[in-house]
């Protein structure tokens, strides 16, 4: 018989419970919720699209100028000489620093802070496994990272598809959209793996962040040094040896650039339409070395993370 006054003391939960498998989605969801709450996330995400914006402004002005001057024929517009996929490559290259900062923001602390807060005790006392945890954390970085890379690229693609079919946008490479979808996955895949590995080795998010930044910058210096060497050799008229081209891609940024060039199948072209600038571009690297290298780095990182995450400290 129902009493008019409800019993508000403790009651058990008897609502629906999903079977205790695949809890990773809950973990990924929370990771994303927490990252997107940070102001920095939105600021750096927006900034990462800046090259697309510059391109749009450039296009706008060129067109205005061309139509106003009028006398100059359509052929003379620099837009007609563009290699379209290289515009995506350049925008990607320009966004790399920002994507790194995003990775630092989202990923560096992800496991390290959990270690500090002993959050694993919470995770593992619930029906979720170490695999759920790793997958969840990985997706928690991968998904936002990929979306941040994808949104401006796809918007730019749509814009170009509408406006510049006459300038060869479609005919240059009809498969561009497929290649783009591949390129978009690169930073998410690499960064979520690397940050998980580094983060899992530390108890403090800041230390993990410091080390991640160290790895990024030191390897970035290699790329910079090789670029300097490549450009100066090319200017001097000599053909830079293979090692220079190879090492150019041996950094966190370089590896992504290598993958992007392989996927887009291009050597790249200069950011500003300088005649003859193409010879300063480090050419597309070997698919057979860098595709396995890229996935090797990801796999190795995940392996490190897997071995570092421990369910319980064994108290002797």
């Amino acid at each position: 018989m129902a009493s008019p006054i409800a019993d508000l003391t403790y009651r058990n939960y008897d609502g629906p419970l999903e079977p205790p498998i695949n809890r990773w989605w809950a973990i990924a969801k929370l990771s994303m919720k927490l990252s997107t709450k940070k102001k920095g996330f939105w600021a750096w995400s927006t900034l990462s699209a800046f090259w697309y914006i510059i391109l749009l402004i450039f296009f706008y002005f060129t067109e205005t100028v061309v139509s106003n001057v009028g006398a100059v024929g359509q052929k003379a517009s620099p837009i007609n000489n563009l290699i379209w996929k290289d515009q995506f490559l350049n925008a990607f290259g320009e966004s790399q620093l920002f994507l790194f900062i995003l990775a630092l923001l989202m990923g560096a602390g992800t496991i390290a802070n959990d270690n500090r807060a002993k959050a694993l005790l919470v995770y593992l006392s619930k029906p979720c496994s170490k695999l759920d945890y790793v997958i969840g954390k990985w997706l928690g970085i991968f998904v936002p990272m990929t979306i941040v890379t994808a949104v401006p690229a796809l918007i730019f693609y749509m814009y170009c598809l509408m406006s510049y079919r006459s300038a060869g946008f479609w005919t240059q490479d009809p498969w561009l959209i497929v290649r783009l979808l591949g390129m978009i996955l690169i930073p998410g895949t690499l960064y979520s793996s690397i940050t998980l590995a580094i983060s899992s080795m530390f108890q403090q998010g800041r230390l993990a962040g410091g080390v991640f930044a160290g790895v990024y910058f030191i390897s970035y210096f290699i790329t910079l040094a090789m670029e300097g060497a490549y450009v100066s050799m090319s200017m001097g008229g000599s053909n830079p040896p293979g090692i220079v081209k190879g090492l150019f891609y041996c950094s966190v940024d370089g590896l992504q650039a290598a993958m992007a060039k392989i996927i887009l199948h291009t050597n790249g072209s200069p950011k500003l339409p300088i005649p003859g600038g193409a010879k300063f571009q480090v050419p597309e690297p070997s698919t057979f070395i860098f595709v396995p290298a890229f996935f090797g780095v990801c796999a190795l990182s995940l392996l490190i993370a897997w071995s570092q995450i421990r369910a319980v400290e064994v108290v002797r």
């Binding site: 400290e313 064994v314 002797r316």
Partner: protein, 305 residues
């Protein structure tokens, strides 16, 4: 040894302690209070990690903030649970012994001594990372006693110790107090404090609510109302006999009919009257007891008042 005059300390807008006046001498003094009452702040002020915002605090007549002369005579067991996790317990204490100004050999000998005192001799060579909470507490206590200080401050020292460890530790503190050392123990596990202390300081919301030794506490106990339960086969007769007493506030009978519950304002007078009722009026009782006849209820009474 410790003299506080109008000591206040606040953090930004949050007040830690407010206008504390007290003196702490040799023997064990308990520092009581709820979470957030300012116990830790007061201890941090005394150990010179903080400066009072206003007022004057002296330890051995000196200002304690960052003052090595004070630390030479003071041992401190913080409430934190953090160590150099990759050190062994022994190395940790040894290092702190060196910081106390001991030479390596003296430091090592003294380390072994204090580690033995806290019963960690066999386990001291393991890494602290693998220690249980109780072992961590012991190591923290060991380092507080290293340089044989005159004043020892212990912030929640008994947390995580098992009953055997607690007993050993209280005996150890008792022994130190008998040597004339001043020991200030903060705790909120009252039945333990009751067992070891002679005097206490009670903080509430940053203010000093009560100070005194056991005698003072005793009379405090007597000035607040007591709940007394008398077990007897004739509860109504007992009630009739006792109802005449002026200091009884209320009476209640148990449903089972073999006990009566009284609220009494002046317990001292009441207990004499009860004895009289039993001895002179022939009231038979099986037993009586009061849950309020202890420190815990005084504490509750004072804090809630």
């Amino acid at each position: 040894m410790i003299t506080a005059t109008n000591v206040s300390r606040w953090y930004g807008q949050v007040i830690g302690v407010n206008d504390i006046n007290c003196e702490i001498g040799p023997g064990i003094t308990a520092l009581l209070g709820m979470n957030g009452a300012g116990k830790t702040t007061l201890i941090r002020l005394i150990t010179g990690q903080l400066r009072p915002t206003t007022g004057d605090l002296r330890v051995f007549g000196l200002e304690p903030f960052a003052n090595p002369d004070v630390y030479r005579r003071m041992g401190y067991c913080p409430e934190i649970d953090n160590f150099y996790e990759h050190y062994t317990g022994r190395d940790f204490v040894r290092y702190l012994a060196r910081l106390d100004g001991m030479s390596a050999s003296v430091g090592n000998a003294r380390t072994d001594e204090v580690i033995d005192m806290v019963g960690m001799s066999e386990r001291a060579n393991r890494k602290i990372a693998g220690y249980s909470k109780g072992m961590r507490q012991r190591i923290k206590l060991a380092q507080a006693m290293l340089h044989n200080p005159d004043l020892i401050l212990l912030d929640e020292p008994l947390n995580g110790l098992d009953p055997v460890g607690r007993r050993e530790f209280m005996d150890l503190l008792g022994g130190l107090a008998d040597q004339g050392k001043a020991i200030l123990v903060s705790s909120h596990i009252l039945f333990e404090v009751e067992q070891m202390t002679r005097s206490l300081l009670l903080l509430h919301r940053g203010r000093l609510l009560a100070t005194g030794d056991l005698g003072v506490i005793r009379s405090l106990i007597d000035t607040h109302p007591h709940q007394i339960r008398i077990e007897t086969d004739e509860p109504r007769r007992a009630a009739a006999l006792l109802a005449e007493l002026p200091n009884i506030v209320s009476m209640k009978f148990d449903r089972s009919g073999d006990a009566v519950q009284l609220e009494v304002r002046e317990p001292a007078a009441f207990y004499d009257a009860l004895a009289a009722a039993v001895l002179e009026k022939g009231l038979t009782i099986r037993g009586f007891s009061s849950p309020d006849n202890n420190l815990e209820s005084v504490f509750k009474y004072l804090v809630e008042a």
